[in-house]
């Protein structure tokens, strides 16, 4: 960082560099590092035993279990949709392609609360299918199915959005080569496409998983907050916090914060892999001497 000799044409004067660096790091410190630190400090404010007790509470355990279950139910569908949408969009030309891409982005733009409300209007007691569902004693709203459905809505773009640009960049040459060498559609997908997109796929799954486990607004509308039954971990955090049980709330929050940290770490590793693969792609297209 020290400037030796003459300053390069595309760098700022020293004082400005330090000012910018201080502003950037200060901003990140106050808005990212401090909150992250606070979660763990607050969680451990009453010491280890209290922390352990808060997490071994049956309601906390059931919330963790429910959160894992929801993620497990939501991800397979999203992976399937992501691959299907990316395959159609990246490898073929058709009318309405950009409209489809826009629609995939829709869940990012809609408020989670509105998402929850939408499903309440469909499946709720006064909803469109409400009377029919009640007559057949099928419970969707304020039960597990609604939690899964809203989480699917919220998280479905993640995989597709990672895969579309990746598959577009890879082009269709390799797949065409596989077909011309006699591969069937499935063989082409399993041996050529899937290995090429596996890191992008994983990246999308990591992001979708983080969101699925952490979703609050939409789930809050449709879950009904039934303790031990329809309380996911984020809802559990809210309830404890509102009961002024700070240690319990932050203990549960610390589990989610750990999940976030694992997500960030996994994301960085996968990003590094993707970067390497794209570099391989770039070098495989540039001519060189033997």
């Amino acid at each position: 960082m020290t400037t030796t000799g003459i300053r390069r044409a595309n760098s700022e004067p020293g004082w400005l560099r330090y000012l910018l660096l201080t502003l950037a790091l200060g901003f990140l410190f106050f808005f990212l590092a401090l909150p992250l630190l606070a979660v763990f400090v607050e969680a451990l404010a009453a010491g280890w035993p209290a922390y352990r007790d808060a997490l071994s509470d049956p309601e906390a355990r059931s919330a963790i279990g429910l959160t894992l279950l929801v993620a497990l139910c939501v991800l397979p569908g999203n992976i399937l949709f992501g691959i299907a949408a990316a395959w159609a969009i990246a490898k073929f030309d058709f009318r309405g392609k950009s409209l489809l891409i826009t629609l995939i982005d829709l869940p990012f733009a809609v408020s989670p609360v509105v998402v929850g409300l939408v499903f309440l209007l469909i499946f709720g007691a006064q909803g469109i299918f409400g009377p029919w569902l009640a007559a057949h004693e099928i419970k969707i709203v304020f039960a597990l199915p609604a939690i899964i459905i809203v989480t699917m809505f919220i998280t479905f773009p993640f995989v597709a959005r990672e895969l579309i640009p990746l598959m577009q960049a890879q082009g269709k040459d390799e797949e065409e080569a596989a077909i011309s060498l006699g591969a069937s559609g499935w063989q082409m997908f399993r041996r050529v496409t899937l290995p090429n997109i596996k890191w992008g796929l994983l990246y999308g799954v990591i992001l979708a998983n983080a969101r699925a486990m952490g979703e609050f607004g939409a789930v809050s509308v449709v879950s009904g907050h039934i303790r031990g039954e329809t309380n996911t971990l984020p809802l559990h955090v809210e309830i404890l916090y509102n009961e002024y049980n700070a240690v319990g709330a932050f203990a549960a929050a610390s589990v989610l914060a750990l999940l976030a940290l694992v997500t960030l770490a996994a994301k960085s590793i996968v990003e590094w892999r993707i970067r390497r693969e794209t570099q391989m792609l770039a070098t495989s297209l540039t001519p060189e001497r033997p």
Binding site: L21, P35, L80, A109, V113, V114, L120, G127, F156, P234
Partner: protein
């Protein structure tokens, strides 16, 4: 003997299957439910709808939601530009760690962010304590909403700007410098215009996310009607009072705003990608 026929199967397999799967999934999960909202709202006369969507509490909630979102997005535009610039251009210890940390607001559940920020900025919190000694009250005021939304929107501007800053060719800045431009002139006239579309896109993304945000705001906002009540919270409280129709009216307004912002983001990105393409066509005509 020319053979005229419909197109044969495309070389790569699975077009109908994959597009079909995607459309079915999208329709069942997104389009049908959203049209359900429209269906429900269509039971209202326009007058009723207007009445509910523009009640005093609703209007106040729009003002707070938009005002705080706009302010937070502006803060993020300024600091996001600085952070992105520093992360791309400068090297300092721990840079990779900090770079990874920028995505924390994407990864951290909003409820966790909400209770943490509320604790930090409350009158005996780590930050709130000092802020209050200067007479600034953050938690349980509209200012608290701005803080929460700044946290939520932080990655958008940084992440949209980073690749664009990386792509700036150093030659361009060197050329500007060699033509006698000062560093400030180079930035203002050469670098910034190139970054502007991405900055605007990041700003709009952060803004659009903030409008709908719920989890991180409710803990720090205080949620006083007319003062610090955001629209998503108003929807929830209407639901809790079994006023489904009122909630629907507000939801329709929010949904329309979401569509408008989505359209804006797409237009911005299209503009950013194409704005310099119109005039690069070689103008030397004449010769065939």
């Amino acid at each position: 003997m020319p053979s005229t026929r419909s197109h044969p199967a495309r070389v790569l397999p699975g077009f109908s299957l994959s597009l079909g799967c995607a459309l079915v999934y999208l329709s069942l999960l997104v389009l049908l439910p959203l049209s359900g909202l429209g269906f429900k709202a269509s039971h209202l006369s326009f007058y009723e709808f207007w009445e509910m969507a523009t009640g005093e509490r609703a209007l106040a909630s729009y003002r707070i939601t938009f005002g705080a979102s706009l302010l937070a997005a502006l803060i993020n535009a300024v600091f996001g530009l600085i952070v992105a610039w520093v992360l791309v251009r400068y090297s300092f210890p721990g840079k990779r760690l900090i770079d990874a940390l920028v995505d924390l607001p994407f990864a951290l559940p909003t409820a966790v962010a909400g209770i943490t920020l509320a604790t930090l900025y409350s009158s005996n919190g780590w930050i709130g304590r000092y802020a209050e000694s200067f007479g600034v009250k953050v938690a349980f005021t509209p200012l608290g909403i701005v803080v929460a939304l700044t946290f939520i929107g932080l990655p958008f501007v940084v992440r949209t700007l980073q690749p664009v800053i990386e792509d700036i060719e150093p030659e361009v800045e060197e050329a500007a410098a060699s033509l006698g431009a000062s560093r400030l002139q180079t930035f203002v006239r050469v670098v910034f215009p190139g970054l502007f579309p991405a900055l605007l896109t990041g700003f709009t993304l952060a803004f659009s996310r903030s409008i709908g945000e719920y989890g991180s705001v409710i803990f720090i906002a205080g949620n006083m009607p007319l003062i610090s009540e955001i629209t998503p919270l108003l929807i929830i409280s209407k639901l809790e009072q079994y006023d489904v129709v009122g909630a629907t009216a507000l939801a329709v307004v929010m949904l329309l705003i979401s569509f408008a912002l989505l359209l804006a983001v797409n237009t911005l990105q299209w503009w950013a990608a194409n704005r310099h393409h119109g005039n690069t066509r070689p103008s030397t005509g004449g010769k065939p």
